[in-house]
């Protein structure tokens, strides 16, 4: 009986989500249909050259795709309505997302946003990835809500600083944000080691955090000779210098 109730609840939540999704999809399809109207369809002239017939147009396939999406969004809306989605959607704010899950997702979203948008372009890759690994293991191993908040703050602080102080690309080579990231990483590592006394995962965290990004970035840069993020970063700059100046001549001779 409980299982059947759970399935019904799950379906109700799903239909409530479908209700909102169908509205979102409807709006999105309309927006892109409007944008598609910017692409010449009926043989308009472009810079004095005739754009040809409708079947030549670059708009024809997108028009079909977004019309299809519009139709399917209406069908989804009808299904959601018939199966009580609107009632559940308008009656419940959380549509099935409990507070813990919302907190877990929000902190992760903050971490990933500041890591990708703030730190990776501006801060040494080994430093920012080491901090990311430490923060994620500390924050999410064990499932403590407070730790998730600390982990998100540990990434958001240097990430927001880097974005605020060095937003344009011309500023990305500056190193003050690297130092701040290193400081936060060291403090967080200290917290991990103190709080996790005797815990194997806590002891392994700093080792993984240092080794994984260092090996990866070196393999990518020197093994595969590929571009890596922020070549002028605080630590990678030193590694690259010593690789080409100190080490490589040893076997290039």
């Amino acid at each position: 009986m409980d299982t059947r109730q759970n399935i019904t609840d799950e379906k109700a939540v799903l239909r409530a989500r479908d209700f909102w999704t169908s509205i979102g999809l409807f709006a999105l399809s309309l927006f892109f249909l409007w944008r598609t109207s910017f692409i010449p369809l009926w043989g308009e002239n472009r810079a004095g050259v005739s754009g040809g017939d409708w079947y030549n147009s670059a708009a024809i396939v997108p028009l079909g795709i977004f019309t299809g999406l519009l139709v399917l969004s209406v069908v989804l809306f009808v299904i959601a309505l018939r199966e009580g989605g609107a009632k559940t959607a308008l009656g419940q704010v959380g549509i099935g997302w409990n507070r813990d899950e919302a907190w877990r997702f929000s902190t992760l979203a903050v971490i990933l946003f500041f890591y990708i948008a703030g730190l990776v372009p501006r801060v040494d890759f080994i430093l920012c990835s080491g901090l990311l690994i430490t923060a994620l293991i500390y924050g999410y191993h064990g499932g403590f809500a407070r730790r998730m908040g600390v982990a998100a703050s540990a990434i958001a602080l240097p990430g927001a600083y880097a974005m605020a102080v060095h937003l344009p690309q011309s500023e990305w080579a500056k190193h003050d944000d690297d130092w701040l990231t290193l400081l936060v990483w060291l403090v967080l590592t200290g917290v991990v080691l103190v709080q996790g006394k005797g815990d194997r995962v806590a002891r392994a965290t700093p080792i993984i955090a240092v080794l994984a990004p260092t090996i990866l970035v070196c393999a990518m840069a020197f093994g595969f000779r590929q571009n890596v993020p922020n070549r002028g970063g605080l630590i990678f700059k030193q590694i690259e210098y010593h690789y080409y100046v100190t080490l490589k001549p040893l076997w290039s001779r």
Binding site: R35, P62, I65, S73, V120, S129, L136, A204, A212, P229
Partner: protein, 503 residues
């Protein structure tokens, strides 16, 4: 007969070239080991293994070696999923979900070693069956595909997206179609392939070249997995392994009909566009339950049940490569990642593919399955130890891997923004039970569909009759229409009424 012999000679040449190259073994052993590790860790999937390695090896080493790395990881990961299924009752990959039904009860009966030994051998034989089918059918289909023109290609691409959307949907079928259309819509961004007309670029120069495949793959498959997996989970109680992990040849011989049947089913399901190893495993398990004399014991620790799913999911790999190589339509989500690797190496799978690449793929598959068998039998204890690593420890490293892999493919920081954006969208789509595979297949096939659809209309001066003017096109159009109509409730009701009438 002459045809078969010439194929075997070509395969022999490719195989010999592989085995005399020492680097083959370095890439093969490393990638199969990594693949099994990815498959064995619950939370990491075969698709993720191939996607991440595409970011890493895709265009950094010669195509031949990158194919060894990617196919090795693919074969290894599908097999690796059986470890947690049997020992923890948690499928390592979706492909091994059916394996847990009988694998775990067998382990609880103290037959874990026997079960792992048999799945290793069954996976090996399954991969070989799929590979043999690949060697034979790919040539037959290639000969046929030489005659297909733009209308057939456009309808085939559409069929791939629709079929994948239909079969991969857990909830409503239209959710699969919506995912496919979103993928197609994403493929429309950038300069159009015929007139170089910019579409949906919003004045951003990065968008002119369209969305790159690798960041989309990383975003669609890796980021949601990382977000979803970073939660506290008690590692299930692992059943102590009893018995040696060696193939019981008498049992293998006794169950050979089951293995052969499952291999054929797996290959067939794999050959359907966009349908993955999980479907192959379940279909084979379902058929086995119906036709096997041991059917009533399925789910209670039946060796037949175990072999049905494990053989089929590995046989699916060879099947999934058939539409990929012949038509440029991926047969499964990991094959979609492989398609990404081909694309960034400027190799266009389809009727114009270099036949040597196909022979090399077949040779790699045989070597990879053999490596998987050896590693499975002799290093199983290592993989069992790996099972104990919590996902909150390895997923952060996967995030770093994903970031550097996506960055280095070419687009730089913008590719990372794209990856993150697609990742968040894919996470919510997963949450709302939208399948991700049709989206990715839509992104990959969108360009092909757009170009061939418009070229067909161009050649016929806008006459839509071009889509029924050739028998192949007419059949494909009928299949597309039937696939859509089969989901319309009124038509469904009509058919069920017609069915009831004769009774």
């Amino acid at each position: 007969m002459e045809f078969v012999l010439s194929q075997l000679a070509g395969f022999g040449g490719a195989f010999y070239a592989l085995i005399i190259d020492p680097l083959t073994y370095v890439y093969l052993v490393t990638s199969v080991f990594l693949g099994i590790t990815f498959g064995a860790l619950p939370g990491l999937t075969a698709t993720l293994a191939v996607t991440i390695l595409t970011g890493f090896f895709g265009n950094k080493i010669p195509l031949d070696y990158s194919l060894i790395a990617l196919l090795g990881a693919y074969v290894g990961a599908i097999y690796g999923g059986s470890y947690p299924s049997i020992l923890l009752n948690i499928p390592g990959t979706a492909a091994s979900a059916a394996t847990a039904m009988d694998g775990h009860p067998l382990a609880k009966q103290g037959r874990g070693g026997e079960a792992l030994g048999l799945t290793t051998t069954a996976s090996f034989i399954g991969t070989l069956i799929g590979t043999a089918a690949l060697l034979i059918f790919v040539w037959v289909l290639l000969l046929i595909s030489k005659n297909i023109a733009s209308p057939e290609k456009a309808l085939l691409a559409l069929f791939g997206i629709l079929l994948s959307g239909t079969l991969m949907s857990e909830d409503l079928v239209i959710k699969g179609w919506i995912a496919g259309l979103i993928g197609l819509a994403m493929a429309m961004v950038g300069m159009d392939p015929l007139l170089s007309e910019p579409r949906y670029t919003f004045g951003w120069s990065y968008m002119l070249s369209g969305f790159q495949v690798v960041p989309v793959l990383m975003g669609a498959f890796a980021v949601p997995q990382i977000i979803d997996g970073l939660r506290h989970m008690e590692v299930g109680k692992m059943v102590a392994l009893q018995g040696r992990i060696l193939p019981n040849w008498t049992a293998v011989k006794r169950h050979m009909p089951t293995i052969a049947r499952s291999g054929v089913i797996g290959t067939g399901v794999g050959a359907l566009p966009g349908v993955g190893e999980d479907v192959a495993g379940w279909v084979s398990y379902g058929v086995g339950k119906t036709v096997s004399p041991d059917g009533k014991n399925f789910g209670k620790g039946s060796l037949e049940g175990l072999l049905s799913s494990e053989t089929a999911n590995n046989a699916c790999i060879g099947g999934a490569l058939i539409p990929l190589l012949v038509l440029g339509i991926p047969g499964s989500p990991p094959a979609a990642a492989l398609m990404g690797a081909f694309k960034i190496n400027n190799v266009i799978p389809g009727p114009t593919i270099d036949p040597n690449i196909i022979l090399r793929v077949v040779a790699i598959m045989v070597l990879a399955s053999f490596t998987m068998w050896i590693l499975g039998l002799f290093t199983a204890k290592i993989f069992i130890k790996i099972l104990r690593i919590p996902q909150t420890v390895f997923l952060p490293v996967v995030m770093v891997l994903t970031t550097i892999g996506s960055f280095s493919v070419g687009g730089g920081i913008n590719d990372l923004y794209l990856m993150l954006g697609v990742g968040f969208v894919a996470y919510f789509m997963n949450m709302m039970k939208y399948p991700i595979a049709p989206l990715v297949i839509g992104v990959i096939l969108g360009g092909l569909f757009d170009e061939t659809f418009r070229r067909s209309l161009f050649l016929s001066d806008g006459d839509l009759g071009v889509f029924v003017s050739r028998p192949g096109a007419a059949i494909l159009l009928a299949l597309n229409v039937a696939l859509i109509c089969a989901q319309i409730p009124a038509i469904k009701r009509l058919f069920s009424r017609l069915k009831r009438k004769p009774a």
